[in-house]
Symmetry: C2
Subunit: 243 residues, 2 copies
DNA sequence: TAGTGGTCTAGACCACCCT
DNA sequence: GGGTGGTCTAGACCACTAC
């Protein structure tokens, strides 16, 4: 039998309370039980409860008032598709209330461009695997992404890549690399005809352009992401708690 | 004599360690003293140290490796202008290495539009104060913002508003309202001639458009912000730690 | 094996809000 | 005054890494 490591208590409490918020057992605007009561009910320390509530507060799910209590945000629906979803476009689309689907447009291996060598710290004459995918929401094209992965990193045949899985999952499975952090730049752009075609030929200009570099915990850039984001289909929302 | 409330220990430790990182006493890539050593040196508990290090980790400043140690991010310079700066455009520009300046373009009082009444939950025939400002970086126009504040909220004459101060500061001073959270939507847009003129007539299309609603802790929308963001002058960066 | 960060606890005291 | 969230501590045990 495989030993099943128990999840951290804080994660279990997070899941439980998130469920209660999602299905309105704690309705928007209502006051939560006090931290001490929650701790007693769930059998954990108040510190653990506070860890979880701090997460929710930073997401804007709850508001805490000293001397009064903790309240569910009345505008839950505007708040639950936040930028954290940028990790995983499928989940972002899902959280926005649409059915996500992914189509692999192309998968090829070629020499790295000068810019790619620069950003990925590669030598000349190095090959990269380029994966182009289209994320749709209820069948409407929403996000077109291009991922550039150094060929030397891949431990399997490129054709074995499963485009249906999140990119961080692919990296872990096929490259044994874990992502530690990401830097992104958000710009506005005009798409050319070849990319416009991927969106069904509609006029989608201007569009959001996300430029991302993913690093491992040794500070090495692992791979690049370029995403054309049609904000008219799935909104790009941020929610931030003050302070 | 005024009693000076001591800052929370975690904030003081944050300031001290941030200074050490900024002036390279802990150089990029180096290993920090262990949590226990830092706790002992600074005279606080390890829990307090961990609170601070968690902040830094979420900003991407440091990387923590279980069983090994805590390391300063080698790419500090790419990391220190993050979206947290969106709170305050002046500080964002400063953090990007430019000298910020603010010019008040106009300040007027007029009836609220239908959309403004909707978003601010106002009755018909209500007036709003509209403040338009231009943020420049080293003299180059970077961000054009329009703030819409309900006239009923203002406790001073609109002409007394000081456009040089951050908007949250203005709100606190002139309206006695504190911001609890913000929702933002990021889009791409094409600016019309009147706005292009504010940017000196250069071709700045397409541009980023930030649409923000600010709430107080009673969940009431306090005011609106619309910002045209020329990402060619000051980049809009996000940094996110994994997990 | 020693030392590190990760998790969790029980409890203290404070600042604040409500009644 | 009584209850709430905010801050902070001392200490336990675990998982992991480097040696």
């Amino acid at each position: 039998m495989t030993i099943q490591r128990a999840l951290p208590l804080a994660d279990q409490v997070t899941a439980e309370l998130r469920a209660r918020i999602r299905d309105r057992r704690y309705p928007p605007g209502s006051r939560l039980p006090s931290e001490s009561e929650l701790a007693k009910e769930l059998g954990v320390s108040r510190t653990t409860i506070r860890t979880v509530l701090s997460r929710f507060a930073s997401e804007g799910l709850i508001l805490r008032k000293q001397g009064d209590g903790t309240y569910i945000n009345e505008r839950l629906d505007e708040v639950d598709t936040h930028y954290g979803g940028l990790w995983d476009f499928s989940r972002l689309i899902e959280a926005s209330g649409y059915a996500p689907s992914i189509r692999t447009i192309s998968l090829e291996q070629r020499l790295a461009s000068a810019e790619e060598r620069e950003r990925l710290a590669l030598d000349a004459d190095t090959s990269v695997v380029v994966l182009e995918r289209l994320f749709s929401a209820d069948g409407r094209p929403a996000i077109y992404t291009i991922n550039v992965i150094p060929g030397a990193l891949l431990q399997v045949d490129p054709s074995a890549l499963n485009g249906q899985r999140p990119i961080h999952d692919i990296l872990q499975t096929c490259c044994n690399e874990r992502i530690a952090y990401v830097t992104s730049t958000i710009e506005a752009a005009t798409v050319d005809k070849s990319i416009a075609k991927r969106f069904g030929g509609q006029n989608i200009n201007p569009i959001l352009l996300l430029n991302e570099t993913f690093y491992n915990d040794r500070h090495s850039p692992i791979f690049l992401g370029t995403s054309f984001y049609n904000f008219r289909v799935v909104k790009l929302n941020l929610v931030r708690a003050w302070g």
